[in-house]
Amino acid sequence: MALIRTEKLTLSYENMTVIENLDFEVKSGDYLCIVGENGSGKSTLVKALLGLKKPVGGLIEFGDGLLQKEIGYLPQQTSAQRDFPASVSEVVISGCLNSRGIRPFYSAKERKKASENIKLLGLSDLKNRSYRELSGGQQQRVLLARALCATKKLLLLDEPVTGLDPMVTAEMYELISKINKSGVTVIMVTHDISAAIRYASHILCMREGAEEHFFGTTEEFLKSDMSNFLTGSKRERSAENGDT
């Protein structure tokens, strides 16, 4: 049974269809990278998986006892204000909210989980600092720690390395890969094809306006025309051939 499976998934804004008839599935332990040009609908797909956007057609199925609200989510752009007065630990622990009913306060277990994730992401020194005083990269790590608090099963990351320097980017990828190896399924949107090829077990490649999207394992992706198109080699040939 797959963790997430979509069938003929169609998503649109008003009358503009962004994604049409998309099929893919993610099994427990997979590392799926979603790649594709700007505006091809990657973030829209992420929102649909989170239940923030209703599909106009097709379906999204959750298996293996995964609840939609148990997905740890790292947004591409937070709706959070950059000047928000909140301490790092307040932000991180707010990820634990999904596992609680109406209890008003955080339990000791949740506090422990939050501080473990703070340690895992190397934020211990920043724990009591204000979120608004952190650099963009530090803020990104705080949000990743929050996402980890929200899940044991599935992390959904929308361009987690935007704006990070090469060193921190590499660290971030290693960290995500480590988290994946510890048993958490990862779905990551990225523009970094080489990272996708290096780390992912599966790749979903989306093209704007195209009806056919590529979905398969990384090996299959490397053999396909789509990868040549994206990595730049034999560009003309791929462009003529169109899709995969």
Partner: protein, 275 residues
């Protein structure tokens, strides 16, 4: 102290103090969330709608609260819808509704010959207009706001900080937004009697902005705004009584002073940290 004792011996002033303290507390707590969500103009818009509703109620000889509270709650829901809808620009929609309501209120007042309406007290507030019924409503309101902040504090934080993440974790964001809008509407209508419709939104905005100058966590900002709000209210009332100035304006002036103080303190703090 003498002044305070003197004030407490007048029933009108006691009523005004009770209502004022409770409303300041509610306004400050709700204000933190509203200001951080960039919704503070909604408070301003609602107070104008409240003015229009009160004026019409007075002209038609209806109970002011019974008209104003439902009308302002409706307006609050409407404004919330408009601001979360990206198609219509939220700020211009608020300006439209608030100036429109103000104009309707003024028209109603000017056309009502024979009815004696004190426009000045509607616009800038007066302690005389606070009734026993207002005391009851403000006690209920304060209980509701405090309970909400105690029981749902973590959820309010999550919604204020990052609405789409909160939604993704299964929090019913719309419900909480509606609840906040509803309580804000009631706070504004009751506070308007004392502060006037022109000045009531300052109770929502000033304490939150002041405490954000100095404090860095959501919890400390929330607690500090509540304290600032109540303290500035009491000081403002004392000044208004002692110097015989309008109470709404006095309270706002004290808030300006508090903001200046916190602004300077914040600047000094961040400088001392750097050096």
């Amino acid at each position: 102290m003498e002044i305070l004792k003197e004030m407490l011996s007048a029933p009108i002033l006691v009523r005004a103090l009770i209502v004022g303290i409770l409303v300041s507390l509610c306004a400050a707590l709700l204000g933190v969330s509203l200001v951080l969500k960039r919704y503070s103009m909604i408070g301003d818009g609602l107070s104008h709608v409240g003015f229009g509703a009160l004026a019409i109620a007075a002209v038609m000889n209806l109970a002011p609260m019974a008209v104003a509270i439902p009308v302002v709650i409706l307006a609050a829901f409407l404004l919330l819808r408009l601001s979360s809808n990206s198609k219509i620009k939220g700020d211009s929609a608020i300006a439209l509704i608030s100036t429109g309501a103000l104009a309707i209120g003024v028209m109603a007042v000017s056309m009502s010959h024979g009815v004696n309406i004190d426009l000045n007290s509607y616009l800038f507030g007066s302690i005389v207009s606070v009734s026993g019924g207002d005391v009851v409503i403000s006690v209920i309101l304060a209980c509701a706001v405090l309970l909400m902040f105690i029981f749902f504090y973590t959820k309010i934080f999550a919604i204020t900080f990052d609405e789409s993440f909160a939604k993704a974790t299964g929090i019913n964001v719309n419900l909480y937004n509606m609840l906040i809008a509803l309580l804000t509407a009631v706070t504004i209508v009751i506070g308007m009697r004392l502060m006037g419709s022109m000045l009531i939104s300052s109770l929502i905005i000033f304490p939150a902005l002041s405490s954000m100058r100095v404090f860095k966590s959501f919890k400390s900002v929330t607690i500090c705004s509540a304290v600032i709000s109540v303290v500035t209210f009491v000081i403002g009332m004392i000044i208004s009584y002692a110097a015989d100035t309008p109470c709404g304006a006095s309270i706002v002036c004290v808030n300006i002073a508090a903001f200046a103080g916190f602004f300077i303190a914040g600047a000094l703090l961040s400088r001392s940290k750097k050096s």
